[in-house]
Amino acid sequence: MATSDIQVAEHALQHHFADMEQQRETSTFGMWMFLLTEIMFFGGLFCSYLVYRASYYQAFVEGSQKMNITLGATNTAVLICSSLTMALAVRCAQLGKTKMMAILLGITMLFGFGFLGIKGVEYHEHWEHHEFPGPNFHFQTDDPAHPATDPVHTEIYYSLYWAMTGLHALHMIIGVGLVAWIIIAGLMGAYSPSYYSPVENVGLYWHFVDLVWIYLFPLLYLISKKHG
């Protein structure tokens, strides 16, 4: 072990832990406990999605027909790529390759901004087409064969769409901020192969946000075969 590594380890070890290994495992466990509460947080939204989808299935199909599947699929790919660069950044942190870690985290941030940009384009389209719940909500059905769907029920689909993707986007924004923080801390020499828990835990957070999108994409965009 290098001298600098021992210094970082001695500096980072809190007095209430026996050693770095115990401290690291406690930190990871704590992060997973937080992610458990996040799962229940998003779970409430997924549950209301389930309830209303079961009640107004045809209106949900109508609403999802307006989604841009190309942009949605592109965003899924962007997030998966960002998860790869994040996983490799954590690996670099394990090996003490700080510069490479910072570069990979920088690429992860760029993917994060890319995702938010594409999401912004989609939001803009929906806003222009009055597909935002509220007094100006207006839904023009693409499928005159099923005129029976009530716009009020389609509005519920859009409420859930904006709430779920909005909460997810908020997590992305926080994630980008966290990545920026570990890039700076990393370049200032805060981490070493014996202490990189913040990198590992921000990585866990980032992958979790990716995981949420893996479910959001098929549930919101791909409810039924695209008409026409």
């Binding site: 466990f29 799962i39 079961a54 866990l204 995981l211 075969k225 695209k226």
Partner: protein
């Protein structure tokens, strides 16, 4: 030192003490990435085929396989302590309780009309 056990004898093997956790090869991460990309393509393709009720089943099965890969390998659950694994299983368990108990209410609200007629 065996991974997952707190070291109560820090002086015992100081020279070869392994502070780092499991180091997975780059090829594994790239492999998982490729599987996730293929899964995404498969999801989009499956949605373009009319399968009726099975559209959602196929979509959720693919999403769950992708999610499992992310949790096990990207999030290192495969190499984590048993305590962490129990935490994740508990999260899934409570999520299923949330869904199933809510649906026992909403899906059975019309039953009284069936009984009356």
């Amino acid at each position: 030192m065996k991974h997952g056990e707190p070291n109560f004898h820090p002086g015992a093997d100081q020279e070869h003490f392994d502070y780092t956790s499991h180091l997975a090869p780059i090829s594994m991460y790239v492999g998982i990435w490729a599987a996730l990309m293929v899964g995404t393509g498969l999801t989009v393709y499956a949605a373009s085929v009319e399968l009726g009720i099975f559209n959602i089943v196929v979509a959720l099965v693919i999403a769950t396989i992708k999610g499992t890969l992310v949790v096990l390998f990207f999030m290192h659950l495969r190499y984590s302590t048993k305590l962490t694994m129990v935490t994740v299983v508990a999260a899934i368990f409570f999520l299923l309780i949330l869904f199933s108990l809510s649906m026992t209410d909403y899906l059975t609200r019309g039953w009284e009309t069936y009984i009356a007629h």
